[in-house]
Amino acid sequence: MSMPFYVAPEQQMKDKADYARKGIARGRSAVVLQYEGGILLVADNMSRTLHKISELYDRIGFAAVGRYPEFENLRLMGVRFADVRGYQFDRRDVSGRQLANIYAQTLGTVFSESLKPWEVEIVVAEVGDTAAEDEIYRITFDGSIVDEQGFVAVGGSSEHVSNQLKDRFAADAPLSAALNAATHALAHENGEERELEAGNLEVAILERSRQHRKFRRIHGSRLTSLIEEGKRGTAATAAETASDSGDGNGTGDADEADK
């Protein structure tokens, strides 16, 4: 009978974290950001049926990256929790903060107790009555939870995507401009530059002014026209910037390529 090897807890945690990070890095990212009418959720997702973005409750959306069966489990759990709670008390008594906490605790427990951590990173976003009341939470594989301001990216190269997004983010941007910023950031993941089309994107919004349930998917012709509108808008801004300063497209692409 062989003796089990001793592994220091620090090493164990580090190994698990590395494992989870590597798993998440294999997939594409997702971004969640405010726009003038609410919150926009965008994921780089080829599949039209296996969603990375979904509705949790009336004002609350969910975005996830990583292993599908694992975050799908979390999504089911969130919907069930929210529906039971809303039914038991009142629809207003379901909050993004509760859901984020539950996810954080669940992921934290899995991370510390199971041999294999879950390779997921998720965002819970709640649209408020005003932009100041919007809430965006990012929850990582080890159960850490961060209250983000304005925008957040999750996924393997989330830091990179987040930096790209920072340059173009404006909380009061129209939907097409916000979508353009999100698409731009996702297209420049891993330092590469790709062309993202409607077929690659899963897009949804939490629309502040909407009645009842605020979550709505955007696809088909509406998505295509929004993407086009966003491109035209950026082209116009770029032209303006060019005539103002004589400096080419001030989008930060060149800076990134230099790195």
Binding site: E55, L56, L76, D83, Q88, I102, G108
Partner: protein, 282 residues
């Protein structure tokens, strides 16, 4: 901290692939929240006045849509329990339910049904078909059979816009969960016999939305006229019937101002002619 949350982990039921039915899920994790669970089966209790009764509901289809209208009165025996009750429930974008019968159970049932449809839609990523919605409601009414035997009868009326056939449809139920599709119009509740007769005489196949609302209001007036448990338009308190319309654009509640305007016309019409509009004989 949270229900079902033990040792930092959701109880297994929350995470399992399991069912996409909210009712079944609730039965598993919190059966005490299901409608009527707390009432037990005490057969000897004189139960009929434990909860108010909700009364007349009218539904009618028109080209491109369907409408649902309800009076506002709830009664407990011969006492008016509530004058401004809302018996219509938007259950999702393309359906609505109204209840007649035991108000307490009916409201719970409608609320559960609403979550049921939403829950399915969120978990499955698509809505139930209108047939599916109608059958689901039948199952829930059937689940209430025990209560119905004790006197807590709930009769829902379901209207919806069928996105496949692009028309409004009406489904009625009986106390044991029998499901019947109605053509053109229907009415449930204590004043329904009068309302149905009234709609029968005024209904046309080519009604536009506003005229259809007018027909429903005339019918509710007739029901209130002859049934003491149905409330008519209350001009002094400014309490008017509620009207929900569902078309391809989804569910919409008609504004109080609009209903008030049409209801006032109906009342004024009745001042001149108490029996209301006459159907042509030829």
């Amino acid at each position: 901290m949270f229900e079902g949350f033990e040792g930092g982990r959701m109880s297994a039921a929350f995470m399992s692939a399991g069912t996409s039915s909210f009712t079944e899920f609730l039965r598993e994790v919190k059966p005490d929240l299901l409608p009527g669970q707390h009432l037990g089966s005490g057969g000897a209790v004189k139960a009929e006045h434990l909860t108010p009764d909700a009364t007349t509901i009218v539904a009618l289809t028109f080209p491109g849509g369907v409408l649902l209208a309800g009076d506002r009165r709830a009664t407990q025996g011969n006492v008016i329990a509530n004058r401004d009750m809302d018996k219509l429930f938007r259950t999702d974008e393309f359906s609505a339910v109204a209840i007649a019968g035991s108000a307490g159970i009916g409201i719970e049932l409608a609320k559960l049904y609403q979550v049921e449809l939403e829950h399915y839609e969120k978990l499955e990523g698509r809505s139930l078909s209108l047939e599916g919605k109608a059958n689901k409601l039948a199952q829930m009414v059937r689940g209430n059979l025990g209560m119905a035997m004790q006197g807590f009868v709930v009769i829902p009326l379901l209207v919806g816009f069928d996105e496949n056939t692009e028309q409004g449809r009406v489904f009625s139920y009986d106390a044991v969960g029998g499901r019947y599709e109605e053509h053109r119009y229907y009415s449930v509740g204590s004043g329904s016999v009068y309302a149905r007769g009234s709609v029968k005489k005024l209904y046309r196949d080519d009604l536009d939305e506003t005229t259809a609302i007018r027909v429903a209001l005339e019918a509710l007036y007739d029901a209130a006229d002859d049934d003491s448990a149905t409330g008519g338009p209350d001009l002094h308190r400014k309490i008017f019937p509620l009207v929900d319309v569902i078309t391809e654009d989804g569910h919409r509640r008609i504004s109080t101002d609009e209903v008030a305007r049409l209801a006032t016309e109906v009342v004024e019409g009745r001042a001149a002619d108490p029996d209301g509009p006459k159907a042509r004989l030829s």
